[in-house]
Subunit: 193 residues, 2 copies
């Protein structure tokens, strides 16, 4: 057994090596520019092992940045969870479910904090949102990218004022009250194409 393969003994060591390599690659090259092959090479493992542990580039990114949810799941919930005329409500409820719990909110806030000071963090974040979420839902919803970004802005801003700044009455409102206020605004924005 060589020292190098000894370092990889056990699943958790290999997994951590892949995650470290992935964080580095996403920071250097962004989400689209980073490749499984390159990440595997830098971690000194076979690309098949990366897929074995993480299934897809998105899930690897989600794990590397410690994100609470794979954006593909958000996209699926938005597109497949019910009729088009309730997509605004589904979007809001999905966002609320992710932001409500401090444990799943923390890594999102950490990423946002990094993005305010670090262009590489911002690049990875935006490419992930763009490639992972917006590219999936813009066409099925028949909405322009700019309009969809205005909708994401509404949801992100609402989460920040509710959970970070803590402005009242938004901070103490129930999820249903927040949905009743914001979902119709989003729905109208999406319908007005």
């Amino acid at each position: 057994v060589s020292p190098r393969s000894g370092r990889r003994a056990g699943d958790s060591g290999t997994r951590e090596a892949i995650l470290a390599s992935a964080r580095d690659a996403f920071a250097r090259h962004g989400y689209d520019g980073a490749t499984i092959r390159g990440i595997a090479g830098a971690a000194d493992v076979d690309p098949a092992l990366v897929y074995h542990f993480f299934n897809s580039k998105e899930q690897l990114f989600t794990a590397a940045l410690n994100l609470p949810i794979d954006p593909r799941r958000i996209a699926d919930a938005v597109l497949q969870g019910g009729p088009r005329e309730q997509v605004g409500e589904r979007m809001m409820r999905t966002f609320l479910s992710v932001w409500r719990e401090p444990d799943s909110r923390a890594p999102l806030l950490a990423l946002l904090r990094s993005a305010t000071t670090n262009e590489q963090a911002a690049a990875a974040f935006r490419q992930f949102i763009t490639s992972g979420l917006l590219a999936r839902i813009a066409e099925p919803l028949n909405v322009s990218r700019l309009r969809l970004e205005a909708v994401v802005a509404q949801m992100l801003g609402t989460m920040l004022l509710r959970y970070v700044v803590g402005i009242e009455p938004l901070a103490s409102a129930t999820d249903d009250e927040v949905v009743a206020m914001v979902a119709p605004l989003i729905q109208r924005a999406l319908d007005d194409f």
Copy 2:
């Protein structure tokens, strides 16, 4: 001349002492709880001197947190700049004018970063928005507080995606294009009371 009064020699020393005392008081007691009398006392100056330098508690807060704009000016621009049916556009243009320049964006981002980790910073921030801006415009606009907060959320989220995360096409759109997309969403939200 005592050592203490010697330390206050010159306007800039006095001004800095008041600002340091104000930062401490706003962090400890929040915007509403902090008093000019208490801030003056901690800085060992007469309250009249605080007014001499800063005119009002709001301007003192603005200076202490290094904010790029007094929210009273935002409120005035929103309320007095033109007809009610263009208030959405005025809000967006006012926000864009503050966020566009890196020098005036930086302190806002610093405050938001602090608010994500520090409850006292969040408390000062939210009381300022609430007392300084929302309390002034909610009644004249005849809009509920929750609805107004949803509108502020739309604007804040748009600024973050445009200037921090840098999502395209929002990041490269002209101000006019952003206003054309977002102002009608805000205006409809405000009109639907």
